[in-house]
Symmetry: C2
């Protein structure tokens, strides 16, 4: 596939000098429009053969465009904090906000390709990683991000010539590093692996552009012209009116996973006290093993208002070392969060190895409250199921344990609790008008939860639905499930260690 | 000093049961007011003897207050990414936004005290660390943050009794960890060191409260009552009208550090080209040594509009490995940034060891544009000199090299460049009405820069003022100074390694 980029493509100096000033003006205008509209961001991946002028082209783009709104991110060997999380975490950290362009120089492609060329990953692993990349880029594209990928190519002969020429100039020899030399020895292996990578990941939403890197003027103009055309097309498409909304589904009267719960179940106080202190002791023990083995646990708590999420969480955290856990209350997003993909604000809270993160409401808000209230469009919450699955899969592959609780109460119990809150001065603050309003959506929520469980309860990260009309019963169930899942997670971590 | 907390203070159950419901209501009301006003944040440090009920009290606070706006941060051994930066970096990362309360359980006091007790730090180092803590807390307090510090005490006898009792209960033995036992052997050393720490850091703005930890009801209520009173006092003080503004200084006609620059200096093109490629090669070599030794460099670029900061920065970055540097353009702060101390947004960009961070405008904006335009009050920009010095000192102590450039042009040159920009289509975007407006403040800026240099040019982080009417001259000067400073920084890193 790379033959098309070994033709000696070039641009005459005159044509270059004539075109570049116009091109700069046009690029700046498109960039300004992107910034002013601030409706989407642009991700530009720069990859390819060493010596093909990738770095020079990035510098040129910074010179031609407004570099205040152009961020270049380059990635070397992952740090300890990065290695303790899924490989994609470091890229999520550095996604551009709406209105800006992020250039990724050394991207999510680098490590998979290198590991494959040097035999540290087999073909199946490599393809698995490419699939994650596809999912990641699709997620960005569907969220409105323009994803552009440029592959700089240079023939083997040309690369040798270039490295030799640079090495012999004392003031420019530094441009050739030891890894460049090492990689150039594996030129053919790289071609095979990269071809595969490009074919697998050249999707309709995020196609690769192969750029011949032999001549400076050509590669600069080729990238800049393509970037300009893509940006313009993207801005136009985005100025179009939004698609018509799909009609709402009429809910039937069939039973749901929630109506199947036995809401009458109760636990006597003495049994509760005994079980509580026993389970907390057990949980503490496991959590210390987890810290030692680097086993990470993520717990999600969802449920109607007043279902007792906070109380259950406190029974859990009492058993944990304060240094080892973090409770993340999911409230309205900040502007930094709003300016990115909705999963970004959860990625930023992925804990280090050996820690516990407890989410009091979570990314499932997308398919619950955001869906019911219409904050997310049907297209958005529909694709969220896949996005969430992919997100959780990356965590699980990294060895993270995932426990998801839905604490359920019925309408009567909720009314009772609201009443109690209203009459207890220090609980009154928990009640808002919105809580009462949510009661009108009760049936819809039941259906929506049913669908959520259907779509996102997997073998490795199942939903645990708990009847929580009796707080004591619910708390003990939470602790039991947590202990069991956490133990599994530690056992898997031990296995990986061996 | 701890005798006052060995008296067996307690509260009867009846009194406790009567007071607590009221206390909760009052705490919630104060917390709600803090959140609604969102004008300042609260930092609560919980420290003291093991077994004195710190963890239980934190849990109680979470139960009594609205835990959605109460974040508890606990800190264990620093991670690799944390160790590569000044010790305070990890705490800056976790400061609460305005309207919220952050509880620090295991805080900036832990490591200095432990290092001192176990003899890893001598008295001078320990006092140095305490001074940094004082500065840090003063900085927060002056920014409007309420800083509360509770020291939980327990007599030696009582601690032994407690650890023994817990250890003998199989369901509660987990509460006593190996470090608790280790620390309890050093009880007397801890008392001496902690006394010192408390005395040195009990300032008017952030005094310590010693809490007797023997009885649960007493310690809970003592902390909660104090927190409530402090919060109320703070909210009232903050509702008061701001202090009267000090009158503006009349600028004289005395020479400034800027008027002393020779603005006529020029560099011929051929000399420039030769020097440029030579210096870039040298810079690249040093930067690779820096990556190997973990030497970190921070470069600050300030100067009037059109002084050529961007062009100079590009000449620097061309010589660097894209993975090793980051250019940070300082623009308007995001809402997450605005909700914290103004230095927070620079702390978050402190690079890892071995990297270069280039700030295109920086924290000096506080004493430049924010001062001139009145965005910062006189009290704010006046204390900023000390805050900046303290910030830079922490970096320097950690071995970070700091280079600060003021690129200067005169009014005529600026007018010429504005004109040129206006007439070059792809440069026009760089000109705004504000740029012209800034010209009216030219004399004031000269005085303000003079004062900034006077207050913040130190032996270890001097300002380099460069006449930049000739771009070639300015770029070469920047590269020269950068190479020399960077070399020094690498040499210091090598020394530390030995």
């Amino acid at each position: 596939m790379f033959e098309t980029a070994e033709l000696g493509r070039n641009i005459e100096r005159d044509a270059y000098d004539k075109r570049v000033p116009e091109l700069r003006v046009e690029l700046l205008a498109a960039q300004a429009k992107l910034l002013n509209e601030a409706r989407s961001s642009v991700v530009v991946v720069i990859a390819g053969v060493d010596g093909a002028g990738k770095g020079d082209t990035v510098n040129t783009l910074h010179e031609w465009m407004d570099s205040h709104y152009l961020e270049t991110h380059a990635f070397g060997t992952p740090s300890e904090e990065e290695r303790e999380r899924p490989a994609m975490w470091r890229f999520w950290r550095e996604l551009p906000v709406k209105g800006r362009i992020g250039i990724y120089f050394g991207s999510w492609y680098t490590q998979p390709i290198i590991r494959r060329v040097y035999g540290q990953a087999d073909e199946a692993e490599f393809l698995g990683e490419l699939r994650h990349i596809q999912d990641f880029e699709r997620m960005l594209a569907e969220d409105g991000t323009l994803v552009l990928k440029y592959w700089f190519h240079l023939s083997k002969k040309e690369q040798k010539k270039r490295l030799k020429k640079l090495s012999s100039d004392p003031d420019r020899a530094w441009r050739v590093g030891p890894t460049d030399r090492e990689h150039s020895k594996h030129y053919d292996d790289f071609v095979v692996t990269c071809e595969r990578a490009l074919r697998e990941t050249s999707t309709g939403m995020a196609p690769w552009q192969v750029i011949e890197g032999t001549h400076r003027r050509y590669r600069e103009v080729a990238v800049a012209e393509h970037l300009l055309a893509a940006l313009r097309g993207h801005l136009e498409a985005h100025s179009a009116p939004p698609a018509v909304e799909a009609p709402r589904i009429e809910w039937g009267t069939q039973p749901t996973v929630l109506s199947a719960l036995d809401m009458q179940v109760k636990l006597p106080e003495d049994e509760y006290e005994a079980a509580l202190s026993h389970l907390q002791a057990r949980l503490n023990e496991i959590s210390r093993d987890a810290q030692a083995t680097g086993a990470t646990l993520l717990c999600v708590f969802e449920g109607p208002d007043a279902a007792g999420k906070g109380g259950a969480i406190r029974r859990v955290t009492r058993a944990l070392d304060a240094r080892a856990y973090r409770v993340i209350s999911t409230a309205a997003p900040s502007d930094e969060e709003k300016a990115r993909h909705y999963l970004w604000r959860f990625w930023r809270h992925i804990p280090r190895a050996g820690r516990v993160a407890i989410f009091d409401r979570s990314w499932y808000g997308r398919v619950l409250v955001e869906r019911v209230e219409g904050y997310a469009s049907p297209a958005e919450w529909r694709r969220a199921y896949n996005e969430i699955s992919e997100f959780e899969e990356l965590l699980i592959e990294r060895g993270v344990g995932l426990v998801k609780f839905w604490l359920h109460i019925d309408l009567d119990e909720q009314a009772k609790r609201f009443e109690e809150r209203k009459n207890t001065p220090y609980k009154e603050f928990k009640i808002t008008a919105e809580d009462y309003r949510n009661r009108d959506h009760w049936t819809e929520y039941e259906q929506v939860v049913h669908e959520m469980v259907e779509r996102t309860s997997t073998y490795q990260a199942p939903w645990t639905l708990i009847a929580a009309n009796d707080k004591r019963h619910a708390r003990i169930e939470v602790l039991k499930v947590l202990c069991a899942s956490f133990e599994n997670c530690v056992a898997r971590a031990r296995k990986r260690e061996k």
